[in-house]
């Protein structure tokens, strides 16, 4: 699946951004790694892809990627969704690095809305695309105030929201972008990954970097850092569960996409992480609607 390409974009620097800008991004990343979970402002540049479509993740990746890296790009857990394709092509054109769909072969993984099912290892970097970095934004629209709240660790208002959910619905009603506390200090938004993925962030061997281009913030979780999802002692954090397994590979432990079969409510469920699903099928796992697959 890997291919190496010679650099084909005339007149542009490696990874599109000039070296000054990359240095600026790396300085922000270093600061972010030194203060886990803290949002570092950075001079986000206009990129050839629109704001809101991954420019933050792209700038972070552009800041750290080198000629010997292997890049994987996923969106909704799949390599083949349109925006993942678009971003992967962008890096292929501007860097010529190898790309892959296999999680274990990638040194850098840029992702939107999922963490891969397969556990990551030391030396890998996971780059998240973040739309709104500020965890307190919905409760407090003013930037001047939220900055103070982070500095003074005034996070009580976040628990007020959770309390209110329980009072109203009987449970915490947040299903994605679920707030966490990093390294027992900073309140952080993990980006719109489903809460199902939150436990993977805790003590992860890989480096996790978060880029918000439009909002101009970078933050990070260094390897082996404590990440705890907010909850109450008597209403502990819970991840999503399905009654079904993956129709293609039979997995019971992965996040499942719902596929609508007909307009009478017919549904099936399939692994969101396409690479994980394919690996399982190659290993011989077959789901109720899958067909035996020859090894590739």
């Amino acid at each position: 699946m890997s291919q190496a390409q010679t650099q084909s974009l005339e007149g542009y620097n490696f990874a599109y951004l000039d070296e000054q800008t990359k240095r600026m991004i790396r300085r922000a990343i270093l600061k972010a790694v030194a203060i886990p979970g803290y949002q570092v402002p950075f001079g986000s540049r206009e990129m050839p892809l629109p704001y809101g479509w991954g420019t933050g993740g792209i700038q972070v990746t552009a800041g750290v990627i080198g000629a010997s890296d292997t890049l994987k790009v996923i969106d909704q857990g799949a390599d083949d969704t349109t925006n993942a394709v678009s971003i992967r092509r962008f890096f292929a054109r501007t860097t010529g690095v190898s790309t892959t769909e296999r999680t274990e072969d990638a040194s850098i993984i840029q992702t939107r809305h999922r963490i891969p099912e397969r556990a990551l290892s030391e030396g890998q970097i996971l780059v998240y695309q973040v739309p709104i970095p500020e965890a307190l934004r919905w409760l407090e629209p003013r930037e001047t105030e939220t900055r103070k709240m982070h500095a003074l660790e005034e996070y009580g208002v976040m628990h007020v929201k959770l309390y209110e959910d329980i009072a109203r619905f009987g449970r915490i009603a947040t299903s994605y972008d679920y707030p966490v506390v990093v390294n027992d200090r900073y309140l952080m938004r993990p980006s719109p990954i489903p809460k199902f993925d939150n436990p993977k962030m805790d003590n992860m061997p890989a480096l996790q970097l978060f880029g918000a281009g439009r909002e101009k913030r970078i933050y990070a979780i260094p390897p082996y850092t404590k990440v705890k999802s907010l909850d109450f002692d008597d209403h502990p954090f819970e991840i999503q569960k399905w009654d079904d397994c993956c129709a293609l590979c039979g997995a019971k432990d992965s996040y499942l996409d719902e596929v609508v079969m007909d307009d009478e409510g017919g549904r099936m469920f399939v692994c969101s992480d396409t690479d994980y699903c394919e690996d399982r099928r190659v290993e011989g796992h077959i789901g109720p609607m899958g067909t035996p697959q020859a090894a590739e």
């Binding site: 003074l152 007020v160 309390y163 209110e164």
Partner: protein, 260 residues
């Protein structure tokens, strides 16, 4: 019998200027545990400016406000870091604003409003937080069945009582109140004053109450300070000041009370 040797609050030569004008100046007093001090005067007297300086909403132009902290003893609150001050304001102090809508979160339930301070200092058990909130609603005479209702559905008097509960939940030692009965119907005022008096006595609270209403002052305060044009013109025991005013301005105020 007061065995304390340190006042809870010691204010020394406090003053605040705005542009070229004096907001308040030359204010000094001590406040002891369990004592209620009333600050009275008409609008423009500087009493609200003074309260704002005392409660650390504004920084004064000169003078000190020394608070006897639980852990470190007497400290000038303006020598503290912003973080220490804000923590103090959320735990050991309470601030009841004239308009309860300014002192409540209108978008969340009564229970959440009362429980917020607890959550801010680390309470993490929903059931317990809800239990404590419920207790306090009862103490301020709000029907506990309304714990999940939003303050926007409460009457003015209920909102004010909710604001008081929200502040008392961390057992503060000092309360600042700015016209706590302002804008309420007379019968509602009476009920609120009764409640406040009861709470202050039972909980051993100290309080500083700003009001233009001498009747409120007489009911709540042990001591009074009368302000005019930014200065304290008279101070002393409430009954003495109101029954035997010495300063011409105090005499004017007292004689202006409408008799029923």
């Amino acid at each position: 019998m007061n065995i304390e040797t340190t006042p809870l609050l010691s204010v020394q030569s406090l003053g605040k200027d705005y542009g070229g004008k004096i907001g308040c100046t030359d204010v000094s007093f001590d406040l002891w545990p369990g004592e209620v001090l009333g600050i009275v005067g008409e609008s423009g007297s500087g009493k609200t400016t003074l309260l704002n300086c005392l409660s650390a909403q504004f920084e004064p132009s000169r003078g000190k406000v020394v608070y006897d902290t639980r852990v470190d003893g007497p400290r000038n609150i303006f020598d503290m870091s912003e973080s220490e001050r804000r923590l103090l304001m959320r735990t050991d102090w309470g601030l009841v604003r004239q308009n309860p809508r300014d002192g409540l979160r209108l978008g969340v339930s009564a229970g959440a409003n009362v429980g917020e301070r607890l959550m801010a200092i680390g309470a993490r058990n929903y059931g317990e937080i809800r239990g404590v909130a419920s207790e306090w609603l009862e103490k301020v005479e709000i029907d506990t069945n309304r714990i999940d209702d939003r303050p926007t559905t409460f009457s003015g008097g209920m909102q004010q009582r909710l604001q008081i509960a929200r502040n008392l939940v961390t057992n503060p030692r000092l309360m600042f109140m700015d016209e706590p009965t302002g804008g309420l119907d007379v019968s509602v005022q009476a009920r609120l004053l009764d409640l406040l008096r009861g709470l202050v006595t039972r909980l051993g609270l100290s309080a500083i109450v700003v009001t233009h209403d001498l009747a409120v002052a007489r009911l709540l305060a042990h001591r009074l300070m009368v302000m005019k044009d930014g200065r304290v013109v008279e101070q002393g025991l409430t009954d003495q000041v109101l029954d035997d005013p010495q300063h011409a301005y105090t005499q004017l105020l007292v004689s202006s009370i409408l008799q029923p």
